[in-house]
């Protein structure tokens, strides 16, 4: 018998050691697999790093992965703060991009570029937030399960974009091939010395989200609602309204991620535009413990890993599946270390005291409270 308990807190040293340990375990395990398949281990890891940071192309690629991941994760984190499980990032990215695409098609072509871009970003925000508010409405008013609902909305969005791609918005200039026209050149986010200005999106949005959550009344309300709805009611908050606005912001920012991807990278819309960022961003948001600055940092590491894993296929001839395993193992180990950092697995009965031991050693206030009053909660 063993049970899992949440640790009350951990020291800085612990956090560093656990994370380094997790990272190393991931490296070691994937090293074993690489070796077992007959590839040179050391060289493979060097290419992994080289592929992520080793050259200007590598860094550019890493950044282009980083942008949608971080913006999406920032958007999702607002919903997660409210304990609203927005799993619909992928669909919100797509609908944000769809709205931006639609606007670019109806706007007069003579419109100045920056104005056009701004309208597309606003459209992206609206598209994403509407898509998020559909399940949000049902969750807020009828207490439906938003996890399933938002998840399903992803597939609906994919089908909708496929419909646009193959039928409604099919571009006749493509000689019978399906596909949607490219957005006007003036609506594309420009590059400055090789770096897309789209990088401004996460940099601005991280400040906005950080400020929103930490400094505004709305952010404060969002945090209180997430912690406990009864408390929010008690404090006189309009929980429904707060959730509505929170979900709208969350979906909107994710929608902006879609619009930015459309304008900064793909230039056209397809059902693959999300590229799985809506799902990866969930992991990022949690790895970053929903802290906005950390989200950008974690996105950077994940993007680097993603890019590096592709590069080892090229450089070392490692099959895609193996590169995925390496990526997965490193990610798993880091996630595992987070788990080990925040939770404690207890074997047997008497070791229950260990948990309290830890709490007591890190928490000076334990002295005047009752150390034995809390008995371990979850049993497996």
């Amino acid at each position: 018998m063993f049970r899992i308990t949440k640790k009350e807190s951990f020291t800085k040293a612990e956090a560093i050691i656990y994370r380094l340990f997790g990272f190393s375990v991931g490296i070691i395990f994937s090293g074993i697999i690489i070796a077992a398949l007959g590839y040179p281990v050391f060289k493979t890891f060097i290419s992994l790093a080289e592929g992520s940071f080793g050259s200007s192309i590598a860094i550019r690629n890493t950044i282009s992965f980083l942008i949608p991941l971080s913006v999406t994760a920032l958007g999702l984190s607002i919903a997660f703060k409210m304990r609203y499980w927005n799993i619909g990032g992928e669909g919100q990215i797509l609908m944000g991009a769809t709205a931006a695409m639609g606007v670019s098609m109806v706007l007069p072509s003579g419109m100045p570029g920056p104005l056009m871009m701004l309208s597309m970003l606003v459209a992206g925000f609206i598209g994403g937030s509407i898509w998020a508010l559909i399940p949000g409405f049902f969750r807020i008013n009828m207490k439906t399960n938003e996890t399933l609902f938002t998840l399903m909305m992803n597939y609906l969005a994919i089908c909708f974009v496929q419909y646009l791609y193959f039928e409604l918005w099919r571009d006749p200039a493509k000689k019978g091939f399906p596909g949607i026209q490219d957005i006007p050149f003036r609506a594309r986010i420009p590059y400055v010395s090789g770096i897309s200005l789209a990088i401004l999106a996460p940099l601005i949005i991280v400040l906005v989200v950080y400020f929103l959550i930490k400094k505004t009344k709305l952010g404060y309300e969002i945090r209180v609602v997430g912690e406990s709805e009864p408390t929010a009611h008690y404090a006189g908050m309009n929980v429904k309204k707060i959730m509505f606005v929170g979900v709208m912001l969350s979906g909107g920012i994710v929608g902006v991620a879609g619009a930015v991807k459309l304008m900064g990278s793909t230039g056209t819309l397809s059902s693959s535009l999300g590229g799985g960022a809506g799902f990866t961003a969930i992991v990022i948001a949690w790895l970053a413990n929903l802290s906005a600055p950390m989200i950008v940092l974690v996105s950077f590491l994940i993007a680097a890993l993603e890019q590096g894993a592709q590069f080892i296929q090229v450089r070392m001839g490692v099959p895609a599946a193996v590169a995925d395993i390496v990526k997965g193992l490193i990610l798993m180990s880091v996630l595992g270390s987070e788990f080990m950092l925040r939770y404690k697995i207890l074997f047997g009965v008497h070791t229950a005291s260990k948990k309290l031991e830890e709490r007591a050693s890190v928490d000076p206030t334990m002295q005047d409270s009752d150390p034995e009053s809390e008995v371990v909660e979850d049993s497996i």
Binding site: R223, G236, A352, E357, D370
Partner: protein, 536 residues
């Protein structure tokens, strides 16, 4: 009736030199504790004094770092709670662990083990019988259980689902369950916390009968009057050490408190006189509320409170206290009735509307961390909870909150490592002070405090009582929902008794008795009492 005492030369159990460390905290420091067969022995101590640790060691949940346990003269080493049960040690926890959908009988039988052959324990035959009948003849099983229970004067219907039993009946089921597992040493963790005075009295007689039949009983409590009334001896723990074991008849309550707290404490609450003007503050008229499952919670409830007085509310758990508080505070909407503060209608308004109408009111909910505070936030952000909405603009003003938080920490002597330290990591007393401090700072006309001292130690409780009295002296009207009738009588000016959402009557604290309140709690109205009718 034959005695189940096996060896009168030995204590039922004796713990010697028990030491248990949690990290740097010494929860038990070489504690000695010994209980004789046939004895009711109180274990007294404040929160954190090591009572629960010691009992968890005895019941096999923790293993001690040092020390010995002997049971009936035999040295034992418990590796698990099962070992302790096999040695005849049974614990009745504060929170009952019954399957609500199963009948009392099923709850009792489930998990019962067949006694080992020739174990020599007295009730082996009975236990074997019960187990044998359990699957075939519920009626016979029930019969056996009723027979067994009646030995101790315990009465309940073993055929009805546990969920339909009253709190005290559930407790009886737990006791029978433990006894039928062969326990002759019984540990009861604050067993009277959830009972009416009448039920508590009944429990005492049951415990006395059990002791008379040779059971050793450990009675954990911090209600001194109960210890004085029930127990033979008392062992006082303080800061992890056993301070003294004394015979109850040779000591008085004041000495006990002194031993427990380590210094003299004035146990009487200094009750200032209420404001003689008797200006009405809160006026509740015909309040009726049913919850979302249409269960009536408040039934045509009417009463008034006055400025400069404390109106106590007594009643059994679930008697409508929570709904009353939440209706007044605007958290739930009563279906009928009216609520006026200073002749201003607030029924149906949201908490924020009420504040914006200028009706200064504060509510200290019973669920501190789940409702009154945001558990993971620090004190300053919790101070913001009530005020952030009052400032202009879209931003929160942290500076004001910080100043106020520092002020409250100083005034109420809150112990915390910092303003941002999550409140859930504070001790219960400090958590309550944070809420009280915040609410007092709103300068309310009306203050509602629900179970304000629940889970607090004596010292913290008295601090809270004093704070409430200070409010009363500032002419605030205080509505105090309480559990401990002694405290209600000592603290409040008048006491309203609720039973199933109805007002049973309001009595004057200076002239009422616990018995009177207890009868009203069980459904007799004050008028009926005056006419000499009683249903209890």
């Amino acid at each position: 009736m034959e005695s189940i005492v096996r060896n009168d030369l030995h204590p039922a159990f004796s713990m010697r030199g028990i030491t248990k460390m949690f990290g740097t905290v010494l929860a038990n420091d070489s504690v000695d504790f010994e209980v004789l067969p046939g004895e009711i022995h109180a274990l007294l101590g404040e929160n954190g004094s090591g009572k629960s640790t010691l009992m968890n060691v005895l019941s096999g949940i923790y293993r001690p770092d040092d020390g010995q346990i002997e049971v009936y003269g035999e040295l034992k080493e418990f590796r698990s709670p099962g070992d302790a049960i096999d040695s005849g040690i049974g614990m009745i926890h504060q929170h009952y662990k019954l399957a609500e959908a199963m009948t009392a009988t099923e709850n009792i039988v489930a998990g019962m083990k067949k006694p080992p052959k020739n174990s020599g324990k007295k009730d082996d035959v009975l236990r074997t019988d019960i187990l044998r009948y359990a699957s075939r003849s519920p009626a016979k099983t029930q019969q056996k259980i009723i027979e067994f229970s009646s030995r101790f004067g315990i009465e309940f219907d073993p055929s009805i689902p546990a969920g339909q039993l009253s709190v005290s009946q559930k407790q009886s089921v737990e006791i029978i369950k433990v006894l039928l597992r062969g326990a002759s040493i019984l540990i009861l963790d604050e067993p009277t916390a959830v009972l009416t005075p009448q039920e508590a009295k009944k429990l005492f007689s049951v415990l006395r009968k059990m002791a008379a039949q040779g059971c050793a009983i450990v009675f954990i409590s911090h209600k001194l009057n109960e210890i004085m009334a029930l127990c033979d001896r008392v062992t006082v723990l303080r800061k992890g050490q056993s301070i003294e074991t004394c015979t109850v008849s040779e000591i008085d309550a004041y000495d006990l408190v002194e031993k427990m707290v380590g210094r003299k404490i004035n146990l009487s609450i200094n009750k200032p006189d209420p404001d003689p003007e008797r200006r009405v503050c809160l006026d509740v008229k015909g309040l009726t509320y049913s919850d979302s499952k249409s269960v009536p919670k408040l039934d045509n409830l009417s009463f008034t409170t006055y400025y400069g007085e404390i109106l106590g509310v007594a009643g059994l758990a679930g008697g409508g206290q929570k709904e009353l508080c939440e209706s007044i505070a605007g958290i739930i909407r009563p279906q009928q009735g009216d609520i006026l503060v200073d002749n201003e209608r607030i029924a149906g308004l949201s908490p924020r509307d009420i504040t914006q109408k200028g009706v200064a009111m504060c509510f200290i909910p019973e669920d501190r961390l789940g409702m009154g505070l945001v558990a993971s936030m620090g004190i300053e952000e919790n101070i913001l909870l009530k005020e952030y909405a009052l400032t202009k603009g879209p931003l929160i003003r942290m500076k004001d909150a910080t100043t106020k938080a520092e002020q409250i920490i100083n005034e109420l002597e809150i112990k915390t490592p910092g303003l941002k330290h999550p409140v859930r990591m504070l001790s219960g007393g400090n958590i309550q002070k944070v809420i009280l401090g915040r609410e007092i700072h709103l300068n309310p006309k009306l203050m509602i405090a629900a179970y304000a001292v629940r889970g607090l130690d004596i010292h913290s409780s008295y601090t809270i009582y004093n704070l409430l009295n200070e409010q009363k002296q500032k002419n605030v009207s205080v509505l105090y929902i309480g559990e401990d009738l002694d405290v209600l009588i000592d603290l409040c000016d008048r006491i309203m008794v609720l039973c199933q959402g109805k007002n049973m009557g309001i009595v004057d604290a200076s002239s009422t008795t616990k018995e009177e309140i207890g009868q009203m709690m069980s459904g007799t109205t004050l008028e009926e009492l005056k006419r000499g009718v009683s249903y209890v």
